[in-house]
Symmetry: D2
Subunit: 456 residues, 4 copies
Amino acid sequence: MDYDSIDTAIPTLGEAKTDSPIKAKGSRVRGQVFVSDEERVLIDSDLSRLEKRIREGMPIPSFEKAGPREKTYFDPSKLKCALVTCGGLCPGLNDIIRAMVLELHYGYGVENILGIRYGILGFLPEYSYQEKVLNPKVVSGIHEMGGSFLGTSRGPKTGEVIEKVVDYLDRTNIGILFMIGGDGTLRAASLLADEIMTRGLRISVVSVPKTIDNDIHLVSRSFGFHTAVELATTAIRGAHNEAQGHPNGIGLIRLMGRDAGFIAATATLALQDVNFTLIPEVAFDLAPPNGLLGALEDRLKERGHAVIVVAEGVKENIPECKKKDKDVGLFLKGEIVSHFKGKDIEINLKYIDPSYMIRSLSANASDNVFCSFLGRDAVHAGMAGKTRLLISQWNEELVHVPMSASVSRTKQVDPNGKLWFGVLEATGQGALKNDRQFVVPPSGGATQPKGGTANF
Amino acid sequence: MDYDSIDTAIPTLGEAKTDSPIKAKGSRVRGQVFVSDEERVLIDSDLSRLEKRIREGMPIPSFEKAGPREKTYFDPSKLKCALVTCGGLCPGLNDIIRAMVLELHYGYGVENILGIRYGILGFLPEYSYQEKVLNPKVVSGIHEMGGSFLGTSRGPKTGEVIEKVVDYLDRTNIGILFMIGGDGTLRAASLLADEIMTRGLRISVVSVPKTIDNDIHLVSRSFGFHTAVELATTAIRGAHNEAQGHPNGIGLIRLMGRDAGFIAATATLALQDVNFTLIPEVAFDLAPPNGLLGALEDRLKERGHAVIVVAEGVKENIPECKKKDKDVGLFLKGEIVSHFKGKDIEINLKYIDPSYMIRSLSANASDNVFCSFLGRDAVHAGMAGKTRLLISQWNEELVHVPMSASVSRTKQVDPNGKLWFGVLEATGQGALKNDRQFVVPPSGGATQPKGGTANF
Amino acid sequence: MDYDSIDTAIPTLGEAKTDSPIKAKGSRVRGQVFVSDEERVLIDSDLSRLEKRIREGMPIPSFEKAGPREKTYFDPSKLKCALVTCGGLCPGLNDIIRAMVLELHYGYGVENILGIRYGILGFLPEYSYQEKVLNPKVVSGIHEMGGSFLGTSRGPKTGEVIEKVVDYLDRTNIGILFMIGGDGTLRAASLLADEIMTRGLRISVVSVPKTIDNDIHLVSRSFGFHTAVELATTAIRGAHNEAQGHPNGIGLIRLMGRDAGFIAATATLALQDVNFTLIPEVAFDLAPPNGLLGALEDRLKERGHAVIVVAEGVKENIPECKKKDKDVGLFLKGEIVSHFKGKDIEINLKYIDPSYMIRSLSANASDNVFCSFLGRDAVHAGMAGKTRLLISQWNEELVHVPMSASVSRTKQVDPNGKLWFGVLEATGQGALKNDRQFVVPPSGGATQPKGGTANF
Amino acid sequence: MDYDSIDTAIPTLGEAKTDSPIKAKGSRVRGQVFVSDEERVLIDSDLSRLEKRIREGMPIPSFEKAGPREKTYFDPSKLKCALVTCGGLCPGLNDIIRAMVLELHYGYGVENILGIRYGILGFLPEYSYQEKVLNPKVVSGIHEMGGSFLGTSRGPKTGEVIEKVVDYLDRTNIGILFMIGGDGTLRAASLLADEIMTRGLRISVVSVPKTIDNDIHLVSRSFGFHTAVELATTAIRGAHNEAQGHPNGIGLIRLMGRDAGFIAATATLALQDVNFTLIPEVAFDLAPPNGLLGALEDRLKERGHAVIVVAEGVKENIPECKKKDKDVGLFLKGEIVSHFKGKDIEINLKYIDPSYMIRSLSANASDNVFCSFLGRDAVHAGMAGKTRLLISQWNEELVHVPMSASVSRTKQVDPNGKLWFGVLEATGQGALKNDRQFVVPPSGGATQPKGGTANF
């Protein structure tokens, strides 16, 4: 992966000059906890590439480490912050909201915290009056609930809306805007930051990247992903029981993953009861003899049942499904049913789509903890006057990644990597191509995950 | 309810003359545990109806109590038994299989136990060679798994098949056939018993009634129902979070319940986050102003979100859905979407169908225990030479119900009863009829649950 | 069991003359839902005992059916109610609080509802100022939490306190006092009602009986019990894994059950991995050869591991443990360790006491639903002016039981009944007595459960 | 941290010359999946330390990357492997056993796989006859169970035993010994490898490090830790409910953590309901005014309840507890009770020790997946003839760490790091010292975790 071209400098609103309130809490917090901007984490942990860089005198790419700074840019007593969650639901949203509010309140003494309703929409007059005043009491217990305490939406991102949002921020005197959202939100956040700069405002925009699919570039692990895989295994367990429980039983599960098959591949490894895992990153044929329908027929003949997991983005790999704009799970169901009907073989297919049961439930302990770190570090970055950044886990550290570096690129399963190799071993599915060659669809600049896995 | 016409006599193969092996286990089991055929449980626990019966000199209806008998009909050392599970999956199937095998083996010393694969199909030559030899070791741990250890199917019940099944039973020398299945299975079991009698064979047919919908006549509680309601609440929790998490969010959950809405109604009471519960037993209008679409629109205006639960059998109440033979959940989704599109109101509808994730998972502790009693009592009944009966919970006792009494009648939610009253209070939905009158569809001889509830 | 001597008449404060507000809600609720005081549920469902009663001209014992009455005694607009939870924690307390508040508010329009803190203590000046004003908003979501939203305590019940409580009720003008608590609470409630009567006050006292042990006389099933058994199985699963995972591994689990072993016995049936279940109702020897220590040694020799479940009340059966006033789990642990040390046999004993993890967690769906019925029916009873009663499940109906009938008697596992027979079969433990005779400790007037089981 | 002195060279038995069988599976696996020994992962991801190393011409420390090698040392058709699990139970043991067996069987075609019973003990004649023959069928489904399928023990590690183990390995012709165990097991493994070398045998010893406490040096994350934290939160939730539910309620939870407080600290962050977290790494006073007992008294006065989490190793910080060799949870319970008794303040303390319920349960999905990678990479390393190594996650890659580098050093919570800072913020506990100064006990060469956190 080409890490050399990444611009890792984090923009700031200006110099942070004020002593952090955290410092004053002598009895509660130890002084050494502050992180200096000079502490940087290597991006590339590969030794030979590093040696090449050293030989060639190239710079060594690194990210700024996240954490509380000794000096803050904002005066907490006058600061007003806004929080907004954008895009689809994802386990952990409420954990992050809570962590931000607790850190702003107890860590920095910030008392004006607004929760914007329903994503970007919530800045517009139709919804902005519904905003919630946030404080520790209000957010107490919200981490036990799924969904978003603030509400969310897949909002409009057109220029006109951007202006209205900045109007709102300006008018209501917001100093830091915390945006929890996916790639679209990062793009909107960049546009917002442009407009803020154009107007000469002093507003920091800090993001915690959200993608249940775990597919954001330069983000090793996104919150909610562990929980999603855990819940997906319940669906696979059910599908496996349905398949085993009937003659020629087929359990077909559609999982999330528009651009990347991390949930499908990782959940496959958790239970190892899946026989065919289909992800956007690896093309396959449907037609016999070696395509999915042929391999499925062989499997039924040999073992009498089969479990298939398909990620939603596989649609792009099936021209007919893409053309008809059909849900890939239902499309596959139809293809399988008509294939076996054509051969007069009776099958028992059970179709499970657990998507909304996964997105909407509360985070597990692993994501609870992870979100508490993400939320706090977002607050630390904002208080220090940093902007246009997102909080990311990288090489087992939390770091600051400039939005510009991450936006508009997708992280995908590496078809030559550890994760997919594990899936091939667990399923024994081989190349589902009539020429028996693995084919990888054009990736459009996708990047691979650290360590070849989904960072489990 | 008319209990007076029920014939509660349990047919037998002949006199039970042999001392039960349970009796000999002096050191392990206490003698008083045996139940005599004279112990009977009142069917009707209503005092005034009882007093009327006494006044009028009518007989008092009662069921034979289940449990181990002092004498057995079969000689355990020579007995061969067969177990079969029929119809759709239901949590607890494996618990019952295990309980039967443990009781046959340890309680009675029966060593020949066959597990038939895939329901009635499994008696036919295509599948019968796959039969499993069952013993305590083989069934150890199966209660932790969902599905059916033996496999199941919605099998053929035509006369020809009945003959083949009896051929199999006769040829393989089966003494007791344990059938775990629903109303269709009870009908098949009755036909089998007829054919057995015609041929003069000595084969007992004992059933444990299975219906995840909890809708079998003269059965207070069917196994798997508690588990199903528990799992359904997870879907409702998710739908509620999705609804609350978006502007004009609607969570629509389709639950099981072909003839009876017990799962939908009971799960509604568990969480109390549902706004509209639709069950087959209560008709409603779709059209505004008071039908579902109007009431939903009002709810969105007032509260901004809504959760709807619909039981699959509601299809029969919607002529258009019935005519098109569409899944009622998807039909409603379409109707709601087009209603609001027609009014140019943007909504966020999320559709959840958890059916196969509910049917296929393992039983909770409550059903584990319940199934262990059902399985053991089925064995005791069979060993005593009783036949054509099912094991049922009634008035908090386990009893023997003749198949003839229960078959072909459905138990339904009482629209005037405690359960539906609770749902109306929890949802506040009122009569979703344009004339504001509750209308109950013709029931075709349905019966109501004991105590007016689903026996929680 | 002697049901004939039970006085089942429910005291009232006076005639209920006002039309129930529920009646007016024509569009929301169907009229037929009202229950008349003439509807009564037979207590004894045994046919032969009934026939004997008829022959001898004896009265037939029955309970008044619970549910909404057509007329109320109290005027909802002026009524003030108080709720209090007493004794130890139990899953479902919050469900009942919520159900009561929702029914009082939405069903009857009662607007003054007070939550008393920390049980009976909360009426005393030290705590009474902390009382909570309850309404639907305040109780929204509390059913997802364990514990008691109001707090609880094992309070003082002396005469002086009783007077202070009635002072409080009188002074604050409470019309109905809802008490959720165990046998001690029922006794206190009776004393309160006496004092109320003495003073000529018009205050109704209605109880929902709480006992995680499921041991209250004339109550088939107490709320929280299903949840407790479910959570107990997790402890057993862990103990089983620990036992199997080590040479001579012993898993020892102490479960709740001061007077009755229902949790221990029922959880044993759920998993069937237990080898010795010890309950207060059945005496046993410790000493070899046939006592627990001998049988345990035999089991280790044969199978290499063992799982033991002991109910806390077993302490009363072990003179040495009783004398030393030791926790029976820790006592047994000591006895086992020293027995094997004396024989120079190395064992691996793991001790698990999950009590507080069981009591404090939230109710499962089965108890959620059950509690919603209990809470609502308590409100209906109170509104009708009934007093000195508790809401009980009996013969699958909810009924009114006079406190006087239930108080001070304990329901216990029947050593000759279905539940204990199931335990003996599941464990194979036999009579753990050196004379190989089962011995039942003196019961002090204990009663047996309906159907011989714990009503699973 | 001083990474420079680490010797990262992995010993081998000899040159790997044979083509890996994985290579031949053209249709199933892609060729590029092989990892070369030249692929190395930087140990230290800190930029400034790296720059210093470059400036000073020092070598850059790195680990060999784990994964399948193109050439194997062993001939699979003749190879015999042994698996053993040592020490206490930990979630995920069965997942690793299964992953190893599946990879050996399907990946390499190894057919002789032995499972040794009960840890090191299992090599001795008393137990070795109980060894299990392992294959895919035998290990199917074991990942759904907790505990160890093979059994485990805290075995003897004396020289004599080491010789007997090597006798066994030699006599039974084992080629690779897979040891899953903690620090003690790593020490035993080193001794075994010494003895193997002394005898000139060709036996590889490969370890997957096990520590539920997550405290092994040079191992970012140990399997079972995520699961342990998840289960610990249930205990905290219960304790919190108990504390809130009573006047002056105190919930005291003892968690695992002999040398390191990762479970206690991380679980504290998951729920954030804890008020005092005590770990071995940070000393505290018991005595008032600022020690635990004083701070607890203050908390009760202000808030009426408190939750305390204590890691078992805290015992070492309390001289009196250490001297009496008491369980620190029970010791603290005693101290708290007598403190408040002395002040005549009534408290309600509930004590929860969930240790064995955590250790013995099955792994969650996150650990399922992690274990599947660990097990497979251990097999790849062994097949390549590598020895004296453990499989570790580091910088989000799986790597080979020489046993010699990791053994006998403990990883601990950094009292100046992100995790402990988070705990101080979540609890607000401050320095529980009468001089209000944080004191860190002597660490004896402990190392800190990557990223300052427990790698959540």
